[in-house]
Symmetry: C2
Subunit: 239 residues, 2 copies
């Protein structure tokens, strides 16, 4: 076990990087900032910043999330640690170890400088690349993680407002997975899972202007899905 001599190691900077995802107009979007300085000046990058001395990475991530989105209350938003990126050359200036997080937002207000935030903005996921540093990889890992967790957790409701229709919930799955799902079967599976969603009594909403008004639901107390809601089969899903 190594000694804790303060000079035995080179100083590391520890940062957090955030892959903040939301759905806008039926398309997956990610929150990005434009870099003003070298390296990668002018490129887009994931928002992030240093972990402060008294903070955990989770605390720093939530603080950055509030700063970058300009939202007052980010306490209810889904935020989870992805993994840590620590290649020695990932930042050409110095040694930076970054703990990456994925955050999910229900709606998508354009973040115009809520606090001392940088000029963060929503960018469609498909047109986001290339990003600065190793952020392409982080973003891809976030997408993969979220897609996988939709299968066996109730994560999908984190993309939805407090009250939502089953059609909107289905759109979350279809957008993140890039597939289409059979509506009757989707409905049955969601309703068959106790605690996934709870119907709001009496409430209904018109969705597309036309058609039958849909019943409204709230997220239930469950966190896990049994049985899981599997993606349409594709062979050799990564381990």
């Amino acid at each position: 076990m190594a000694e804790y001599d303060k000079h035995a190691y080179e100083p590391f900077a520890v940062t957090v990087d955030l892959a903040v995802l939301t759905l806008r107009a039926g398309a997956l979007h990610v929150l990005l900032v434009e870099r003003g300085q070298e390296p990668y000046a002018g490129s887009l990058a994931l928002p992030g910043g240093f972990v402060q001395p008294a903070e955990s990475a989770e605390t720093a991530a939530r603080r950055e999330l509030a700063e970058e989105t300009g939202l007052f209350d980010v306490s209810g938003l889904h935020l989870e640690q992805l993994r840590t990126y620590s290649e020695p050359d990932r930042d050409p200036r110095m040694r930076v170890v970054s703990v990456a997080f994925a955050a999910l937002l229900p709606d998508a207000p354009e973040p115009h400088g809520g606090s001392d935030a940088a000029d963060a903005r929503w960018v469609p996921y498909d047109t986001a690349r290339p990003l600065a540093f190793d952020h392409d990889r982080i973003l891809a890992d976030a997408h993969e993680r979220v897609g996988a967790k939709l299968e066996y957790s109730c994560l999908a409701t984190a993309f939805c407002p407090a009250e939502f229709t089953l059609g909107e919930l289905q759109q979350v799955y279809e957008t993140v997975w890039g597939t289409t799902l059979d509506r009757p079967n989707f409905r049955r599976k969601v309703l068959a899972t106790p605690g996934f969603v709870e119907q709001v009594p009496g409430a209904a909403r018109l969705t597309g202007g036309r058609g039958k008004p849909a019943a409204l639901y709230r997220a239930g107390p469950a966190t896990a899905l049994h049985p899981p809601l599997l993606r349409p089969s594709r062979e050799g899903r990564p381990a």
Copy 2:
């Protein structure tokens, strides 16, 4: 985006902690070291150490794995990043951010000072706690992750030697999950997954001294399991 002023942040120590798991005599064991100094002098802890300036966390973890086990070749061993633990008070001496890894070993040679290693030794998983620092939590997270990955990946073969019987493979599942499985059904599911295991032609081995000799298998090229091999139902599995 924060500035990269070298004085704008307090120095962080970045370490790796390893949850090295193996099966000995049908029981899950974890590699632990005994601490010689305060804090937690005399307590058991997960092996680990500092990330060196030119290393990624993954490189450091594999280096530590070789040092602590005393094995010459650790390149084939399964090693995966778990998550990063960064609570400000997790080490009372200074700010230490630790990237935790889980490692899986096929057999379990007792590691007697292979290199400059500390006196690491195998401890049955059930009697391992309490550990120093937040290592109880790290160890529990490693166990949970491995248990979950057995369901949908070919990870179980990482616990087995190059050639193994299906009974031994089943013991991996039963030991990690703490359950018993139906042998005929287990066999069918494993063999029905293309690329999970490949039979060694002609080979057979007696296992318990008695009984019919079992056919031998090798790990196949597949990494994912379709369909998954689910744990016997328990409600409310964590997300």
